[in-house]
């Protein structure tokens, strides 16, 4: 059994609102070729197993895993798909290597969101078919309800939520992969059209196409393959109740429990002290604040105030979404968690260019699978 697992190669492609020049297979291929080159591996010879994250309805293809192996160089190899976020895929590769059966495993996630004409219509199919779907509502109402509850329970303000948008889209100005960089003021965010009260349209991330591939290796192989392996110190994932009627609306329980598992594996007792920076899910602006509290990176009800004080700015106490997050970079559907993890890897390697943070050793990536789910994952990484 190999306890320690490292990321030894990363590659990406796309990261644009639409990619009419590339199919999803070409996006996957481009990201994979870069990741393999980065890790110095030949997929046919060196990569022993492959994991993809995908959902059939996002792909418009049933049994989508059929179309995975060719462009990854994975035909006739142990390949499987996880119906989860990219961080679930990363956790899966982590487990596969820890069994001792595989030394090198590749993980892939992608979004071809521009092919989806009616995402809200697709998401509606994720609602309980008996109790909720017949209401015929746009699923974003769940985010609006949850934001309202979050503001009520914590005393956070709409301005603080809008502040997340201002921070992340400004951070995105320094990220060449970002599609939605902007220099906005809080008032401008709040003046946007409503989405589902109190949630405004400008507080929701917009979609992009793209693909991310990562190559992971066991300790013995990692040290051969990479001068700078990024170690997975811990991974965790959790589901809360799926039904709207029985879930906990006060807190992101899935993120809390996923973090607890990841911290246990990483031996982290005081996350606020030990985590140097975080890339957390900000599909909706309030989610960043709610997630930071669930992750133990801010005390319950305090994330909004900390944001206002600048704690989560790149120069703050705990830089959050220095990449720009989903609000600045764009949301990559099932690959979103991998995009968060990609930034953590680049920062820990010290190759994040203009937005490079100083003296960072431990970073955290967190994902949420979006409405109407209560499913999330956390990966803690170290240089």
């Amino acid at each position: 059994m190999s306890d320690r697992v490292a990321i030894v190669g990363v590659g990406w492609a796309g990261f644009r609102p639409s990619t009419p020049d590339q199919s999803y297979k070409e996006l996957m291929y481009e990201a994979a070729v870069r990741a393999y080159a980065d890790a110095g591996v030949d997929p046919r010879r060196d990569v022993e197993s492959f994991v993809t994250v995908a959902e059939d309805f996002h792909e418009g293809t049933s049994i989508f895993d059929e179309y995975v192996p060719d462009q990854l160089g994975a035909a006739l190899k142990p390949v499987h798909t996880i119906g989860g976020d990219g961080l679930h895929g990363l956790a899966t590769a982590y487990m596969l290597i820890r069994t001792g059966m595989f030394q090198v495993v590749a993980v892939e996630g992608h979004s071809k969101a521009s092919n989806i004409l009616t995402l809200p219509g697709v998401t509606a199919y994720a609602l309980d078919p008996v109790l909720n779907r017949p209401l015929g509502l746009n699923s974003d109402f769940i985010a609006g309800m949850e934001m309202n509850r979050y503001l009520h329970v914590t005393g956070a303000t709409p301005e603080q939520c809008a502040g997340v948008v201002v921070k992340n889209r400004r951070n995105a100005l320094r990220n060449p992969l970002a599609s939605y960089p902007a220099d906005l003021e809080v008032d401008e965010v709040l003046a946007g059209p409503p989405l589902s009260w109190p949630l405004g349209r400008r507080e929701a991330s917009s979609l992009v196409d793209g693909a991310v591939v990562m190559v992971l290796a066991s300790e013995s192989r990692a040290e051969d393959l990479s001068p700078q392996p990024i170690w997975i110190l811990g991974a965790g994932w959790c589901n809360d109740a799926p039904s709207l009627e029985t879930r906990d609306w006060d807190e992101a329980v899935y993120a809390r429990e996923a973090a607890r598992m990841a911290y246990r594996l990483a031996g982290i007792a005081q996350p606020q002290m030990e985590i140097d920076f975080a890339e957390v899910d900000d599909t909706y602006a309030y989610k960043e604040l709610q997630h930071l509290e669930a992750l133990g990176l801010a005390r319950a009800g305090e994330a909004g105030a900390l944001l206002e004080e600048g704690a989560f700015e790149p120069a703050g106490m705990l830089p959050v979404n220095v990449s720009g997050g989903s609000l600045g970079v764009g949301h990559l559907l099932d690959a979103t968690g991998l995009a968060r993890a990609l930034e953590v890897v680049l920062q820990l390697r010290g190759v994040a260019g203009e937005r490079q943070l100083e003296e960072v050793e431990i970073g955290l990536a967190q994902s949420w699978r979006g409405v109407p789910t209560t499913s999330g994952a956390v990966v803690v990484m170290g240089a």
């Binding site: 059929e66 499987h80 679930h88 069994t99 199919y125 589901n239």
Partner: protein
């Protein structure tokens, strides 16, 4: 290699029926609670949950596993869904295996659910969307057609007759008559019945095909120290293997499932098996179509190429034969709720190796069994080998 040992310690399954009145969540919970009860465990003892379920298009639920999660017992637990099309039912226990073998968990509940009847009028139409959107979907291919191509190729390559193939359908449907959860067990069925059934897409006839079904199966996996405490008859996972071939199925020689061989070799190597024909005592190859059971026996190296029908004719594959095949009744007899049907095969081996298979019990205290599933575009093989020794 000093890999962590993992055992199956409990199993449960619902009846496989054409149209279940229960929701998918309820089916999942019925199977999960039976599996837990079988080993006197509760959800509090379960550290992680794995879900296997085939295309979302069947249930018509996007991110289907999220919807099923509380039914599967995953509330506030680490929970993931793995997916390899029709191979999922034998992959989900592999997913459970790596959860425990990784050292992250000591117990894992594996649930496979399928509710095909939600697709109205017939789930066959859901398969229209599995084909390549550019090159194939425009032709509106039906899944039965591509199986007809493959069956034809198999018969043509080795000179196999329809009657040779029908014998395995008869064997499995007769075996299923002894399975309390079976949908299509028929103790009196004959080869003539199969050959006289309605032609769907030549050479595929109605009784060559497994039925559309709803159902769920669950098993409980545990690490060695837990397994030995929970039961004195743990059934150990000795080998796992899986392989996914290219999506360009039209470029493959359909006479032989090479991806099954690759998956089987991986599992044999892990299990330390050199002579599978002597060392595998019970085989549960995937049999959504009768020829597929034969095709897969060959891919698993349990029969020479083109020779599997002879094993059936000689009685080798009968429940009291030298190498019983599908003593459960298989998909052809028990039913084919896709992912649940694959896990049913692993549950059957669990019951057989513990001597708990009742009227289906294979004589002679079998010590090792193999379950295999197949799926996607004639593309994926998944193999699990279990045995009474760790």
């Amino acid at each position: 290699m000093g890999m962590r040992k993992v055992a199956v310690v409990g199993a449960g399954m619902t009846k496989f029926v054409r149209r279940a009145l229960e929701t998918g969540k309820e089916l999942s919970w019925q199977a999960a609670s039976m599996a837990l009860e079988s080993c006197e465990m509760t959800l509090d003892d379960i550290q992680a949950v794995c879900m296997g379920t085939a295309p979302d298009a069947f249930d018509g639920v996007h991110m289907k596993a999220e919807y099923l999660s509380d039914g599967a017992g995953a509330w506030q637990k680490p929970y993931m869904r793995s997916y390899v099309g029709g191979g999922t039912g034998v992959f989900a226990p592999i997913q459970g295996w790596y959860h425990i073998a990784s050292g992250l968990f000591d117990t894992c509940l594996v649930v496979c659910e399928e509710k095909m009847s939600s697709y109205f009028p017939h789930p066959q139409a859901a398969f229209l969307t599995i084909f390549d959107h550019t090159t194939e979907r425009a032709l509106e291919p039906n899944l039965l057609w591509i199986f007809a191509l493959e069956m034809n190729r198999y018969m043509q390559t080795y000179g196999i007759s329809k009657a040779d193939i029908a014998r395995i359908a008869v064997q499995n449907k007769r075996n299923a008559a002894d399975h309390p959860c079976a949908l299509l067990g028929e103790a009196e069925i004959t080869v003539e019945d199969v050959l006289n059934s309605e032609v769907l897409a030549w050479p595929v006839q109605r009784l060559d095909v497994s039925p559309v079904s709803d159902g769920a199966v669950a098993i409980v996996l545990a690490a060695e120290h837990v397994a030995r405490r929970v039961t004195d008859k743990p059934v150990w996972i000795q080998g796992v293997g899986w392989a996914l071939d290219t999506a360009y199925w039209t470029n493959r020689d359909l006479a032989y499932p090479r991806y099954v061989e690759v998956a089987a070799r991986m599992a044999y190597e892990m299990a330390g098996i050199r002579e599978p024909r002597k060392e595998i005592h019970i085989a549960e190859p995937y049999d959504p179509f009768d020829y597929k059971a034969l095709h897969h026996l060959e891919g698993l190296l349990l029969a020479d190429r083109g020779q599997a029908p002879q094993l059936v004719a000689d009685g080798v594959t009968a429940r009291d034969g030298a190498m019983p095949v599908c003593p459960s009744g298989g998909l052809l007899g028990v039913g084919n709720p896709i992912a649940a049907a694959g896990l049913m095969k692993v549950a059957e081996l669990f019951w057989q190796l513990r001597g708990e298979a009742g009227a289906r019990q294979v004589p002679g205290q079998p010590k090792r069994g193999l379950a295999q599933a197949w799926g996607d575009l004639m593309q994926v093989g998944t193999v699990v080998i279990v045995g009474t020794n760790p």
